[in-house]
Assembly symmetry: C2
Homo-oligomer: 380 residues x 2
């Protein structure tokens, strides 16, 4: 198993390492241009980073006349990031290198209703196992990142008033994981992580809304190219009151929240009431694909309700794109109903060039986002 170690960088070294890790720079010249540092200063720090085993310079021996081509990369042995994306019943867990490339990703069943200690111990044990099995020898762990399906206070990595997470309210997730690892820890709402991961797949879209349609409903917001956190709950749409003929009390105690009608959990409950057995959101998608009319009608209604909430936000924010991810996103009637509601009801100026599409980053979007934000934390 690999050891763990804080990344030994300071000041401008971190900025240079980040520019290489994120693919913005591949040469000393590019580093000088992007960092604004003098070429001599860049060279000195690059040599230090190479000496510390964090950067490697490739192609240095293949001169064919003229200046030798040399490409900077983060060393594959520079370190690992362990990241998790906690859902209601499943977690995705992965190891990334410092450039954010996954070495391994696994999905495992988990149960967040067991409370924070049991769940986070389980996550840490899973990280240890992944490191033991997949961690290259001698490559140290540099940081821990985890997504939580509820509001997280950005000030201290504490979960605040989550729904469907008994025992988690006010639990200091970052502190708890930090005590076990003594490494930089990132804790963030899962939809926010998904938005960060997705944003890299949408170059040119500075304003992005990323909807996570799974057991719950989450949304992450990119404004002017950056994650908008607000006070930690930004992006929440699950407790918006929707128009409905019936009246259902949501897990938050209020009547008629979007989540009570349009979340995977709500759809599973409604199908069960009609005698159709489903155990997870993917079963709802399978029922739709199998042409079960009750499932299709419910998903279509969910899409309409989500779309009606999105009309408010599209008029208000005018995003460039709405990206739909999560386990329900592959149900075609969901996307088409969302599109119908938004295009029907929004201002022309707001929808003229609006794209509404399924995820490009795929099911690992949140892990990729966690890697991206965690790299910042590790380098600061």
């Amino acid at each position: 198993m690999s050891g763990k170690e804080r990344l030994p960088v300071r000041g401008a070294q971190g900025d240079l390492l980040r520019l290489v890790a994120t693919g913005h720079a591949e040469s000393r010249a590019e580093l000088a241009r992007l960092s604004g540092l003098a070429a001599s200063s860049v060279s000195l720090r690059v040599e230090e980073l190479i000496g510390a085993g964090l950067l490697v310079e490739e192609g240095a021996g293949t001169s064919r006349g003229g200046r030798r081509p040399r490409r900077l990369q983060v060393s594959p042995t520079a370190g690992l990031l362990a990241v998790a994306d906690l859902g209601a019943r499943h977690a995705r867990l992965g190891l990334l290198d410092l450039s954010g490339t996954p070495l391994v990703v696994e999905e495992r069943p988990c149960d967040i209703t067991l409370g924070p200690e049991a769940t986070l111990d389980w996550v840490a044990d899973a990280f240890d196992e992944l490191l033991l099995v997949h961690g290259p020898p001698g490559v140290p762990l540099r940081g821990i990142g985890t997504g939580i399906p509820g509001p997280v206070d950005p000030a201290d990595g504490r979960v605040v008033s989550p729904s469907r997470m008994p025992g988690w309210n006010n639990f200091p997730v970052a502190e708890y994981l930090g005590a076990r690892y003594d490494l930089p820890v990132l804790v963030e709402n899962d939809a926010n992580l998904m938005a960060v991961g997705e944003a890299r797949a949408w170059p040119g879209c500075d304003n992005l809304m990323v909807l996570k349609a799974g057991s719950g409903i989450g949304c992450g917001v990119i404004v002017d190219g950056r994650l908008h956190r607000g006070r930690g709950a930004a992006g929440d749409i699950s407790h918006v009151r929707v128009r409905s003929d019936s009246s259902v009390v949501c897990s938050c105690g209020h009547p008629d929240c979007l989540e009570a009608y349009a979340s995977g959990a709500a759809l599973m409950g409604a199908l069960a009431e009609q005698g159709i057995a489903v155990r997870r959101p993917a079963d709802v998608v399978a029922a739709v694909n199998d042409g079960v009319p009750e499932a299709t009608a419910l998903v279509r209604n969910a899409g309409r309700l989500i779309g009606e909430v999105l009309t408010v936000l599209v008029n208000f924010l005018n995003p460039d794109a709405i990206v739909v991810g999560g386990s329900l996103s592959t149900a075609e009637p969901l996307i088409s109903s969302i599109r119908a509601a938004v295009y029907e009801r929004c201002l022309p100026l707001a929808t003229r060039d609006l794209e509404i599409a399924v995820t490009r980053a795929g099911p690992d979007a949140a892990l990729l986002g966690a890697g991206s934000l965690l790299l910042d934390a590790v380098l600061t």
Copy 2:
């Protein structure tokens, strides 16, 4: 009457003039620190700006030993900005100096339903009259700014699909005024201007929603300290569908838009139906203050509906404050109903430190915002 003239600044001169005009810098030392330019370079450009009559240096003759205190200010003769805030039935018009301080502000009745040419000719004539009467001799006009109560495309200053503005759709307002003045022209949605003007009165609040409750309902959004324009319609909440027992068709053609129930125009219509004569939104406020129960009930309902729409946006954006301006903002039941709805229904993390308050910048907020954005346009 004063002449008109493009501001003769270029490159870094404009940045320095802006720092002084906005009150961020009062000395050459502060300019050097904030601009990042060398002291010698700052001094050279300051001398040029003084020579051009754009900056003045005060107190240069009052040495009391040591270095003489010298305070930089924009010259009162550096130029004027003519700004207007067009409403449905009234316009506010003003002349500002380059620091954004009003020399004169007037409110005059106007009728935007006469169409863009007639309205904009009227605005320009009013500017000419204000300049003739109040413009200090020899101080040139430097730019024109106007707020429009509808969506404006930021790319070309064109009005796009406005409600209640017959004949304005696609009209190139910026081009039309530019042809008359041959000066920089700023055209922006009125609520956006109000948000920019208001933001200066809320230091420390980086995320701000500014609601304009007048004949119509508008909203401007400040995210991370900057106006969020989106595709030009950002901040629009007037055409959000609200929950209602009855069904009213909005001016946009859709049923049950917020504007159809909660705008000043809607309230006036509803009062008239009950035999209570009102001619403008201020009359609605007067009826509330006079204890007319029908008026109070209608305003309370309007506040509840606005508040329910704001809950979606507060959960989504987590602003630091919601500021309510416009002619209805002085009706106490409006604010209290908005507060009740938002605090009742929003996530705890989103409302924990949220302030909901009436305008601090007052009725000139949009003119001040226009001055601020216009100064940027003039100096670029």
